[in-house]
């Protein structure tokens, strides 16, 4: 019996959300009195995989098949299922990412496992029963869910658990083959297009987010948002109407019908704070609202607020960040 952790890599590096997942898996393993093994997907290097020891992983399985570099739903599912059988994994932990959800849902059927997505905390374990807490109603609530059965799959929400670092510990990296055949790559992408991210920070994984709404008046003013984001090392986001009129790309739209984020800091600039927007951001640890209307509903959900004009306030904030050094 063991815990299997699915670790997503890109450009040779382990994704931040996967470091969180690795720590989570190691803690679950400790609760169950066993060890955590990782299976790596995407483009990885052995040296980087070995550092997963810092998150408490003992062993990392890696299939160097080049076609696994990009996400292929069928191939990834088979790879992870094969690893789960080999390791006799009772619990599989993955990120609640587009990849994690696509693979986790298929795996749950293949491995006859119970599945919880969007999980925000470590489970409460009671014999064969697991209780996990997950986000529901698009950020407006949580629910405790009992996972029954012999096998469980847990998809952990990004930025909701912490990645531990125990410096110096290293994991054993072992090559692994799931004997994948051409048929397993039938749904392989014909093309992969990556977008440029502000300051190189990926919004779903970001710890700091600067977000703009209709109060920014037009796309030509976004340099104010970007300047602050770059100074902080933050990702940029926006409200729905902003992406609807193409001021900003769709993948930056946060809210109930966009993506939900839970960064440590969310700075909302010229956003009114409609209930659908709040749903996507209210699990942020600290919320800052800048709005010229003191009655804007967003102030009720904020920790810090500035009643003022974004065109006046944003440059002051950027300057203050630069002063901090």
């Amino acid at each position: 019996m063991s815990v299997l952790v699915v670790v997503e890599c890109a450009d040779g590096e382990v994704k931040k959300s996967s470091l969180e997942v690795a720590s989570y898996g190691a803690e679950v393993a400790a609760m169950l009195g066993t060890t955590a093994t990782a299976i790596a997907v995407g483009e990885a290097t052995e040296a980087n995989l070995a550092t997963l020891g810092e998150q408490g992983i003992t062993k990392v399985l890696y299939d160097a098949e080049p076609r696994l570099k990009d996400f292929v739903n069928n191939a990834y599912t088979k790879l992870i299922a094969t690893a789960a059988e080999q390791e006799q994994a009772k619990v599989i932990v993955l990120a609640n990412s587009n990849i994690g959800a696509a693979v986790g849902s298929r795996l749950s059927v293949r491995l006859k496992a119970s599945l919880a997505t969007n999980v925000v905390e470590l489970p409460k374990v009671n014999g064969d029963q697991f209780v996990v807490r997950r986000g529901a109603f698009s950020g407006k609530a949580f629910s405790d869910v009992v996972l029954s059965g012999d096998r469980k799959i847990i998809a952990v929400k990004k930025n909701s658990t912490e990645a531990k670092h125990e410096a110096g510990k290293s994991a054993e990296v072992t090559s692994f083959s799931a004997q994948l055949a051409d048929a397993d790559f039938a749904d392989a992408p014909t093309q992969v297009v990556m977008q440029e991210q502000t300051g190189g920070v990926l919004l779903p994984e970001a710890e700091l987010v600067v977000s703009g709404g209709r109060g920014m008046k037009g796309p030509e003013n976004w340099s104010l948002i970007e300047d602050l984001a770059k100074a902080l090392g933050a990702a940029t986001a926006c409200s729905k109407p902003v992406s609807d009129v193409d001021w900003r790309p769709h993948h930056e739209h946060v809210g109930q019908t966009g993506i939900t984020v839970s960064p440590n800091l969310y700075i909302a600039c010229g956003i009114s704070g409609a209930i659908q927007h709040l749903a996507g951001v209210n699990s942020s640890k600290v919320i800052v609202v800048i709005n010229k209307d003191p009655e804007a509903p967003f102030f009720k959900a904020a920790d810090y607020g500035i009643v003022g004009d974004v065109f006046d306030v944003l440059p002051k904030l950027t300057a203050a960040v630069k002063e901090l050094g």
Partner: protein, 245 residues
């Protein structure tokens, strides 16, 4: 081409979420239910593709009789017929079993649904259905085009997108900017009344998960206001007090 569009019945996006006194269930009192916003992309795109190349669009809902107004709404938007599996949607696995059974029975070519439901936020059903039927899933899809039996889709991945080509049958979960979701017009509403809506009983195994308790996020302490004139002080507070930068 036979399209099957799965819709779920969810609380309107403006709903303030509350629970029954035992915190075991969502409190439906006074709540307006709508078609899950993500499902609207699936529905509209299926109708567009049908209009372009022929076929039929069937909507499927797993739900009790109170979901029928929204099923009729989907028919008014342009679906041809509907199936309701007469059961409360207990968990994602249970719902996926129902969809897979209907899809198999009706030999549907394209099975579409929204990225996730805005109430349960499972983001699971698409993959489960695909696996149950041993057919590919593309999730979440931002674009879907069909040429004969071959579909070209854009799948969102973190930080970018993948272009994926699959043959029918397949499952896709849909999100923006796939299309501009349609709203019913008067003619649609009139014809929807007489379109077939079949009610069938559920199949399958016991659910694998169970909600024991719902809870609301902790309330904020209240906002600390910083004057605009000294906006830079905020940055000091974020570093020294909130310790987030």
């Amino acid at each position: 081409m036979k399209f099957l569009v799965c819709i779920s019945n969810v609380p309107d996006t403006t709903t303030k979420i509350t629970f029954t006194p035992d915190n075991k269930e969502f409190n439906k009192a006074g709540v307006q239910f709508v078609i899950n916003p993500w499902d609207e992309y699936a529905l509209t795109r299926a109708i567009e593709l049908k209009e372009a190349a022929g076929g039929t669009v069937t909507v499927l809902n797993v739900g009790e009789a109170d979901t029928e107004p929204n099923i009729r709404k989907a028919l008014a938007i342009g679906a041809d017929d509907a199936i309701r599996v007469n059961a409360a949607p207990k968990d994602a696995f249970f719902v996926a079993e129902q969809i897979a059974a209907v899809a198999k029975e009706g030999a549907y070519d394209v099975i579409l649904m929204g990225k996730e439901s805005i109430d349960y936020n499972g983001f699971q059903v698409h993959g489960m259905v695909g696996e149950m039927l041993s057919i590919p899933t593309v999730a979440p899809a931002m674009k879907l085009d069909l040429s004969g039996n071959t579909a070209t889709l854009e799948r969102e991945i973190e930080g970018g997108k993948e272009i994926v080509t699959v043959n029918t049958p397949f499952v896709a979960s849909c999100q923006q900017p796939m299309c501009e979701p349609r709203i019913p017009n008067m003619r649609g509403i009139m014809t929807a009344r007489t379109k077939p809506l079949k009610v069938i009983e559920p199949v399958g195994e016991a659910p694998r998960t169970e909600v024991t308790e719902f809870m609301l996020p902790p309330k904020k302490q209240g906002v600390k206001l910083i004057p605009a004139e000294t906006a830079g002080d905020l940055i000091k507070l974020l570093r020294n007090e909130a310790k987030v930068i």
